[in-house]
Symmetry: C2
Subunit: 375 residues, 2 copies
Amino acid sequence: MKQVSFTLVATDGAARRGRIDTPRGDIQTPAFMPVGTAGTVKAMYPEQVRETGADIVLGNTYHLMLRPGAERVAGLGGLHTFMDWERPILTDSGGFQVMSLSQLRKLTEHGVTFKSHIDGSSHELTPERSIKIQTLLDSDIIMQLDECISLPAERKEIERAMELSLRWADRSKSAFNNQANRALFGIVQGGDDASLRARSAQGLTSIGFDGYAVGGLAVGEPQEVMFRVLDEIVPELPEDRPHYLMGVGKPDDILGAIGRGIDMFDCVHPTRAGRHGHVYSRFGVINLKNARHKDDHRPIDEASPNSNCRRFSRAYLHHLVRTEEILGAMILSQINLAYYQELVQGARAAIERGGFTDFAAQTRASWSAGDLPLL
Amino acid sequence: MKQVSFTLVATDGAARRGRIDTPRGDIQTPAFMPVGTAGTVKAMYPEQVRETGADIVLGNTYHLMLRPGAERVAGLGGLHTFMDWERPILTDSGGFQVMSLSQLRKLTEHGVTFKSHIDGSSHELTPERSIKIQTLLDSDIIMQLDECISLPAERKEIERAMELSLRWADRSKSAFNNQANRALFGIVQGGDDASLRARSAQGLTSIGFDGYAVGGLAVGEPQEVMFRVLDEIVPELPEDRPHYLMGVGKPDDILGAIGRGIDMFDCVHPTRAGRHGHVYSRFGVINLKNARHKDDHRPIDEASPNSNCRRFSRAYLHHLVRTEEILGAMILSQINLAYYQELVQGARAAIERGGFTDFAAQTRASWSAGDLPLL
């Protein structure tokens, strides 16, 4: 019997409040999944990630297959043991990073061959190999291999990649072999073209997946295009399965996508922005590199539930960022991940009480009001 | 009344077990002080530093005067508030880093002028200004400005620097103005010359300090020279004051110096070595970059009291080091600082029971036995 299941707990307009049960624990949705690219959420201990409220993290197949290698991770007890994270892990298929990072790619019907961006070694990724790698990593939620192209693109090119992704979806489903303790998600492609997206969703639904991701967004298009595609495609996805918007995004993207029926998100943005001195908060984005913080004894947000937002002055964080101290990356990554979790937790509570529209409006108004006045 | 005092609790040969009382808490000696160069012990939260067993941290006057600036730190409530470390802080005088890091130095009787290694801005450090900066930082233990030269050096040059340091010691004492809530330490110079060292100790003792540091060691000389100088000079230092060996060192240096009557140590080595993949343990130094750890599921030391030594496999740590992940620096800095604290804690207990010689021999034998056998 399938040990991974999705329960829709409440809806509020198109917004959904749900729960994914897995053998490694529940995932409350809408969920934000911190990205643990190479077996670590950068600059965070696993328990710190959990304490922000994360139920699940994402691992990157491309990075892990190159270093330390999937067979090695399996030999060491799987990715959960390797990185000391007991709760669920979703792994991507590796396809996106092959396209964005590797060199000398060659794409065929069979799969994609490429050279590692690290040492130039040759590798192959096929739908079957991607499932195999993700199984070796002991992933709880496995993604099909797809071809993700940047926007804008020609309709013909979008269609070709979408159709290839559909055929790869079919091969992924066979290779996955209906493992009970894991989920397999299909990925809707089709760029910004409504009819291609619909065709993709239809094709995936007839193959049948445990969840449906929207891929090929957050690849250079304006937010309004992304929202328009979501408006068109989410209603086409099975209601009784989780909907995952891949690689998204900034807090405002997440709010907008939750309002359009998305349940799951992942993005490197909060940790990467933290490493660059940008903090997400109810005041919007704060750039701690800015000289205005130099003598500011005030914390990021004295009303925050997160102690890192209360205990360190802006002046100290400014100093850590300017001196490129590791502790700066540690604190700001934690603050951003905690804020993202606060955001999805707020969205969950709002959907449950039927107040998501107000929650989103109030949250956006708070961001627009901006940072504390100058001292 | 003086609020900083030293109590000698026990002796074992030349080795001493003591306690420094300060308004911000006790410092158990022998003590290892982690270095928080620029207002942070690199890659560690302050509470993590405390949890390793550290009673005190060191701040670098040179770095802090340049960024964020002593007056700024004072305006923000002092260094303890700034970095959220409530317990004692010792600050150095800035002299050592001026000599090793800054550009276009000009040394006169009055002090030293130099250009910042960061932005080329001009600064001056005099005995009086150094005391002023350390007071602005709200340091608990203040060091006199001295001139520290590298070894080997001509006797005449060593003597000149030592005599200048003595005159600066006198000016430092006047500038310090006997503040009750802080301690002022003098610094013995004199290179590897016994008579110059004795002259320096005598000069400092007649000025009178709350503690006596041995400077100008760990500046390129072999360990045997350092130990010989300690054998000669430590007996010349007042018994009722703490003895601090500046900038030392590796675990074996620390063991040897404790056996020669040193009470306090500081060194960037444990955190710097951690950032480079080197781990200190009862097995000696382990280089985690080494390919032998690639598939090793064993932790660093399953019998360690430190959970970071037990929970992560060597293979995982090897992976973090090879991929240059920040978490690697975080974990290995913590492991090394915890091991240094374990070492001084072990020394304290051994001195109390009169077994320091055995403790040192057993510890060295354990290091010599080396790492776990290959898998």
